[in-house]
């Protein structure tokens, strides 16, 4: 069953077509990897889908309901949450408080919110930093915090914008495992933007390639990464080399 359907989405910034006629579908319980060179429009596409930006044209459907142009908090309430490529913690709060706010926003009772947040924090492996202020946390911890905060609202669809970027390889493996478990154990549908090709190859059921705002191609990961146009878009580099 299609859980997320995006049709002909477009957004221009002062004449620059950042996202140009992008369409794709995501089946419930599957993982879609989104790749593309810097400036391809991946983050902008997320902003359109998650409601942070209003598309010029096009539609977004979540679970059969149209959510185009809805405010981000309504889209989160409808079951789709995103993370930010540039980490955006609530800076005056500790890690626990950050996640507790998100749990509360999901409608949980105040009495149990902190325990629920602590569980999410343990699950993403942030326990060590649980009671630390977010100021001065290492990138790896902040990336996990993004993930924890998004998970706190118990989304059906999770939009992840480069959650592995900035992590050393040893830190990536547990996050990838976690993402896999989110799918298998919680049935979360994932759409993730990633430059690290090893992760894209390992996690994705299918891959969407954006270039200059347009869909270059999409399909099974092996097929897509062998596509000459994809290799061309990465300026002739072998995309596998980045892994």
């Amino acid at each position: 069953m299609t859980l997320l359907r995006v049709e002909n989405l477009a957004k221009s910034f002062k004449g620059l077509r950042a996202v140009d006629d992008v369409s794709f579908e995501v089946t419930e319980g599957s993982i879609l990897g989104v790749i593309g060179p810097n400036g391809a429009g991946k983050t902008t596409m997320f902003n359109l889908v998650a409601g942070a930006l209003r598309p010029d044209t096009g539609r977004v459907h979540l679970g059969g309901k149209e959510i185009t142009g809805h405010a981000p908090h309504r889209i989160t309430a409808a079951g789709m949450t995103r993370t930010f490529q540039l980490m955006r913690p609530f800076y005056s709060m500790t890690v626990l408080e950050n996640v507790t706010v998100a749990v509360l926003a999901g409608g949980a009772a105040k009495r149990t919110a902190r325990e629920a947040a602590a569980e999410v924090i343990a699950r993403v492996g942030l326990d060590r930093w649980r009671d630390s202020p977010t100021e001065g946390l290492p990138t790896a911890a902040l990336k996990r915090l993004e993930l924890a905060r998004a998970l706190a609202s118990k989304p059906r669809v999770l939009l992840l914008d480069e959650v592995l970027a900035g992590l050393v390889p040893a830190e990536r493996a547990p996050v990838m495992e976690l993402l896999e478990r989110l799918r298998t154990e919680d049935g979360v549908t994932l759409v993730f933007v990633e430059h690290i090709m090893a992760a894209v190859m390992r996690l994705s059921d299918s891959v969407l390639v954006l270039d200059l705002g347009r869909v270059l191609t999409s399909g099974a990961p092996e097929a897509v990464t062998r596509d000459p146009r994809v290799i061309e878009a990465y300026l002739g580099e072998d995309p596998h080399a980045q892994a």
Binding site: A52, A71, L96, V101, E119, A122
Partner: protein, 348 residues
């Protein structure tokens, strides 16, 4: 969310959640209240009136701190809400013989409604930072001009509260040196403090703080940012309106400048800035500094020493003193007195 890797689950279970400060704040408020009750019986009348002035400053600034400290929306126009509280009380009492307590409630409601309206417009047009502050300032100035020119509220004359032959709680009027004024102001301030503790620990307060820290991230976790910002502004305005309503009954007089003047807005800002913005105790600590200072500048203006004779009868000295004080605090104690103390304690 049940499954976790074994070691992580164990640490999560064994590590207790950190304690929260709210009940300690409430306890401190209770203790302080009890300690302060005898104060007006001990102090000479002149000092007792400074103490009342301190409480009025504290109330104004507790209100300001909610919107601008915890909510992060810098208001340079809280005179609007102070003035609405003062004029609602004054107007209803003088023109319609309504008890100041009811006037206070009406003032709170009107101030909250105005704050919501202004907040909605400012947020709708995405005013931020200095532009937002300017919009709040402009709104307070509009009210000042309106009050100065409107027959409805007696133009520049304002209102004199009529003296009653007997003391009365219902009419909030006592002997000028009565301890009751202090106790009422103390009661109102304590209520405002408790409200601000309960607000910050509440869902609404946590959402407001999240929206202050990062609006987009707050929306992304599902917080209706606009709704909670407006709620914060309304609550903030209502508290500052209480200060205005009490002010009229205590000084028995209000006019457009005393109610809506920009120095009133500064008086709402300064205690929190001196004491510590976005802290529970900041406005109170700052008010303890501001109250006596205000008294000193007023005395100097009334009776200047020979060297300062040119100041006789002039206004504006208080604003200059506030400005200097603000510069000193911002340079030396950017987090305010309470902020600096808390930092020192937590380092130990």
């Amino acid at each position: 969310m049940t499954t976790t890797t074994a070691p992580a689950a164990e640490t999560a279970a064994t590590k207790p959640l950190p304690r929260q400060p709210w009940n300690r704040h409430l306890l401190a408020i209770a203790v302080l209240t009890v300690l302060l009750i005898p104060l007006p019986l001990i102090l000479p009348p002149a000092q007792a009136s400074v103490a009342v002035r301190v409480l009025i400053f504290a109330l104004m600034s507790i209100g300001w701190n909610m919107m601008s400290g915890f909510g992060g929306m810098f208001s340079f126009g809280h005179a609007a809400y102070f003035g609405i509280g003062a004029y609602a009380g004054g107007y209803l009492l003088v023109e319609h013989d309504v008890s100041p307590w009811i006037g206070m409630l009406v003032g709170m409601a009107v101030a909250a409604a105005f704050a919501t309206l202004i907040g909605f417009l400012a947020l709708r047009y995405k005013l931020r930072g200095a532009y937002f502050a300017l919009a709040t300032f402009a709104f307070a100035e509009m009210l000042r001009l309106w009050a100065t020119n409107s027959e409805f509220v007696n133009r520049a004359v304002g209102y004199h509260v009529p003296l009653r032959p007997e003391s009365s709680w219902w009419w909030l009027q006592f002997e000028p040196s009565s301890a009751n004024y202090f106790w009422i102001a103390l009661g109102l301030t304590v209520i405002a403090l408790v409200v601000s503790v309960q607000f910050v620990r509440s869902r609404a307060g946590q959402f407001a703080k999240a929206a202050r820290d990062d609006e987009d991230a707050a929306a992304a976790v599902g917080i209706p940012v606009m709704r909670y910002k407006l709620l914060t502004m309304a609550l903030s305005a209502a508290i500052t309106a209480v200060a205005g309503a009490f002010y009229v009954q205590y000084f028995l007089f209000i006019d457009p400048d005393l109610a809506f003047g920009s120095s009133v807005s500064i008086q709402a800002i300064l205690p929190a800035v001196i004491g510590g913005v976005a802290t529970i105790w900041g406005p109170v600590i700052g008010a303890v500094v501001m109250g006596p200072l205000n008294d000193v500048t007023a005395t100097i203006l009334r009776n200047p020493p020979p060297a300062l004779e040119f100041l006789q009868g002039r206004g504006g000295l208080d604003v200059i003193v506030y400005g200097v004080l603000l510069i000193i605090i911002v340079l030396l104690l950017p987090q305010g007195i309470y902020g600096a103390l808390r930092k020192r304690w937590s380092r130990r």
